[in-house]
């Protein structure tokens, strides 16, 4: 039948035209396109690989970073604890020392006060004695001239004064 019998003319033209177009495209067409596509494919693949490598590196870096941060935090807390301990110790030491110092000053003050007090008393006594003598002098100068009864009064005064002195001391 006509349909399934290949026509020689068409066969001839098909071989010639397909052949020519194929040779032209083989030389000037497809290799240019496919090589461009291939190089682009390679480039894309390389970029992807690079990105993946970078991602891995990034993860390593992040892990390193976290570890370092953790270490620093530990160190920091250790330092802080040490500092607190040192501070507490210093404060305690200072308290003890201050107490001792205060005690020392107090006792010294006490002895000084006692000494001052004794000295002051001695002074007062001396002053009183001098005053007593002066008073006595003045009274004597006025009274001692006439009466023998003054001698009795003198005794009484002396007694009184010494009594007063006793009561003071």
């Amino acid at each position: 039948m006509n349909l399934v019998t290949p026509d020689t003319g068409l066969l001839f033209w098909m071989v010639v035209i397909f052949g020519i177009v194929f040779l032209l495209l083989w030389k000037f067409g497809f290799p240019i396109i496919t090589s461009s596509l291939e190089s682009r494919n390679k480039r894309i693949q390389k970029s992807l690989d690079d990105a993946r490598a970078l991602e891995v590196k990034m993860q390593e870096w992040t892990a390193d970073h976290a570890r370092m941060l953790e270490e620093a935090r530990k160190e920091q807390s250790a330092i802080l604890r040490e500092a607190t301990d040192a501070k507490n110790k210093i404060v305690a030491d200072a308290k003890v020392q201050a107490q001792e110092e205060a005690d020392k000053i107090l006792s010294k003050a006490r002895t000084e006060i006692a000494a001052e007090k004794a000295a002051a008393l001695a002074d007062v006594r001396r002053e009183v004695a001098v005053l007593g003598v002066q008073i006595a002098e003045k009274i004597l100068r006025k009274e001692l001239g006439d009466d023998a009864g003054n001698a009795e009064y003198m005794d009484a005064v002396v007694k009184e004064v010494s009594r007063q002195k006793d009561s003071v001391s």
Binding site: N2, D7, G9, L10, G29, F30, E38
Partner: protein
Amino acid sequence: MILGLLISMMLLQAAPAAPAEEDVNVAEIIFEHIGDEYEWHITEWKGKPIAIPLPCIVIDNGIHVFTAHHAAENGYTFNENGKLINAATGKRPFDISITKNVLSLMMSSLLLLIVVLITARWYKKHDALKEAPTGLANAMESLIKMVDEMALENIGEKDYRKYSPYLCMAFLWILLNNFMGIIPFFPGGANLTGNIAITLTLALFTFFTVNLTGSKHYYKELLWNPDSPVFLRPVMAVIEVFSAIMKPVSLTVRLFANMLAGHIMILCMVCVIFIMAKYGPLMCGGMTAVSVLFGIFLDALECLVAFIQAYVFTTLSSIYIGLARSH
């Protein structure tokens, strides 16, 4: 949709040519559309045919060039299949006329050449690493990439670059001509990939590519199979050679039959309208709607088949090449 509309427009134009009183010769119409002609009959206008006259070139004691109308003056006439024969001897001369199919073949091949060269020019002028292709180059890239990857997959990293151009060429050529065949008016409409001479040539290109560039291992396995017992080897050789020959035959028939069947189905749908014309306006109108809907469906199906058949032909070719390159 557009194709469907175009078909119905074509029908409106063709309607006066098929008067309702006459019986429609469906077979004649169909064979006229799927066959080859010595002129490109486009349509009829007011009873006169509009056709592109094409040169008949005949080699028969020298080259004779004439148009089909002047065949008799040059001593040629047509046989029952409509082919030129020598009026004196009644024999077929070597007939390399530019027929409808040959003209279509030239136009589509030129179109493919231009399209691929434009695409290649884009890659020459631009750095594909920095720019994405646009327009035509972008559209072609996806197809070429698909075939290139198919070649890589079936032939292997080592050899595929050598064969990729042929596979690209076969795929794009078949795809383009399948689509041109679906277009119902002038630049398309020739039934090129549904013509056995065309598919046979394509299959022979694959056959020679496979069998002229095979590896030693391939020929050894073909002719003296080392895996079978010695007394079976001659038998195996016969079977293997037969199967090697059947491969291009199956490629030929598969593409040819698929495309031809598609064309015939669509033409039948169109013919339904003319057959129904004599059963009255209601019947004709109803059947017209049905056949236009079916026509749209078949055209969509044909678009799918056009791609699938191009893909199948190329895949099988790459697999055959891959087998012949195995080590």
